[in-house]
Amino acid sequence: MTGKPIVQFQNVKKSFDELEVLKGFDLDIMPGEKVSIIGPSGSGKTTIIRMLMTLEKPTDGEIIVDGQNLWHMESNGKWVEANEKHLSKIRGNIGMVFQHFNLFPHMTILRNCTEAPVHVLGLNKKEAEQRAKQMLAKVGLAEKEKNYPFQLSGGQKQRVAIARALVMQPKVMLFDEVTSALDPELVGEVLRVIKDLAEQGDMTMILITHEMDFAMEISDRVVFFADGYLTEEGPPEELFNNPKSDRLKSFLQRFSKV
């Protein structure tokens, strides 16, 4: 992979009151790259991608998306904090799938997938439905389009959430432990959908996961985040089979025990 990074974290810091979660996080992600972030619970993995999705504001540092600074903008020759308009312009490059799906309960599955394309992208209803149906078929849920979220299983809901994000055609997709709220027997169907997506190639994907086998299988690179820093990174085989830092060694050990 060559060219310019699509996402850059530059010395990003984030605190919640007294709690310093990110102490200086650096990471460059290339277009099309599949990056998994692993790390102890509560270390700040979710916070990292929430800042990229503009759901959380960094305390310090820069996040660059496709060459554009996300949280700062130029105004009359000065760097100022980004306003909603600026955030919205860049946010269009990014999509996110949440741990708890967050489908819209008052809309059918199809409507869940067409609402944003119609109102945000300005597609007409027919185009939006066409796109939505295509994506629902891709995640294997074409026949559920008239149902409501409460009529679906957890795995199905999460697949709808993936389709809903894909319809917006983001360049970068974020997945935050998308299987950890699911019953074990439903995990596979969701991981398969993500794997298909990864194999199709050109979309950049950032995944937070506790499924080490899955991370190994689909990632180009795995990032180990702990104690506020990117502690170790590398290709999955290397990172899992030959960890260098003690911190990662003990983390992986604890994992293989369960």
């Binding site: 999705m53 503009t54 759901l55 909603e84 919205s88 946010r91 269009g92 990014i94 999509g95 996110m96 949440f98 708890h100 967050n102 489908l103 819209f104 309960p105 008052h106 609402e115 944003a116 109102h119 945000v120 409501y148 979220p149 409460f150 809901k157 809903r164 994000a165 917006m168």
Partner: protein
């Protein structure tokens, strides 16, 4: 005077009572949404001013507010309202203040994940509110609105004190003419208010049941 005659007299006030309730109800609804949305606005000054309005109207007597608008405003500013308008404005502002708390509470009760999903789909602030938050909040609001409308109906009786000829006013008249009728007149009046409230009671019970089941929290 027979019971039938009393009912006949009091019935002449039903139109005033009901239309006062309907018109001030509509005003209250509009006020409730404007004030409720302002209470969750991103602008501090908007939130502050609305809070002052809401707490002022909730914290002072409805009757005193009514007298202010009907008797004091004309003296202070030369604004003369007919009794019906004065009633509508007072009841609308007062019950709008109460109902705005319901609007605000219902909006805040929508899980934050809904807003976050809407942000992730790059919806604007207005779109998030209009397409995602409000439609879900509305379900929670309806039973509260039902209850408030019953309160509002009962409160309309106060306008008899500013010469509006509603059911209460006519009942007072009958009593003034013949004190021995008190029990009969006010007994019948109670029943008539209850009959008017009945559809509202049934409706809010239905809305309560509907809000507590189904679609909402998936």
């Amino acid at each position: 005077m027979s019971a039938a005659e009393i009912v006949e007299v009091l019935s002449r006030g039903v139109t005033v009572t009901v239309s006062l309730m309907l018109v001030s109800g509509i005003l209250a609804l509009v006020v409730a949404f404007v004030a409720g949305l302002s209470r969750v606005s991103g602008l501090k000054i908007v939130r502050f001013l609305t809070t002052v309005y809401v707490e002022f109207f909730r914290g002072t007597s409805l009757l005193v507010q009514l007298f202010w608008i009907f008797f004091v405003l004309p003296q202070l500013f030369g604004i003369r309202l007919d009794p019906f308008m004065a009633g509508v404005i007072t009841l609308g502002l007062n019950y709008g203040a109460y109902a705005s708390e319901i609007v605000r509470g219902s909006i805040l009760a929508v899980p934050d994940g809904q807003r976050e999903a809407a942000v992730a789909l790059n919806m604007s602030k207005t779109q998030r509110m209009r397409l995602i938050i409000l439609p879900q909040a509305l379900r929670t609001m309806l039973p509260g609105f039902g209850n408030i409308s019953i309160e509002l109906l009962k409160a309309t009786a106060l306008v008899s004190l500013i010469t509006l000829q509603d059911m209460m006013y006519l009942a007072q008249n009958l009593r003034a003419a013949d004190y021995s009728l008190s029990l009969k007149v006010f007994g019948i009046l109670l029943v008539m208010y209850f009959v008017l409230a009945l559809p509202l009671i049934v409706l809010s019970r239905y809305l309560e049941k509907r809000a507590s089941r189904g679609v909402a929290n998936t």
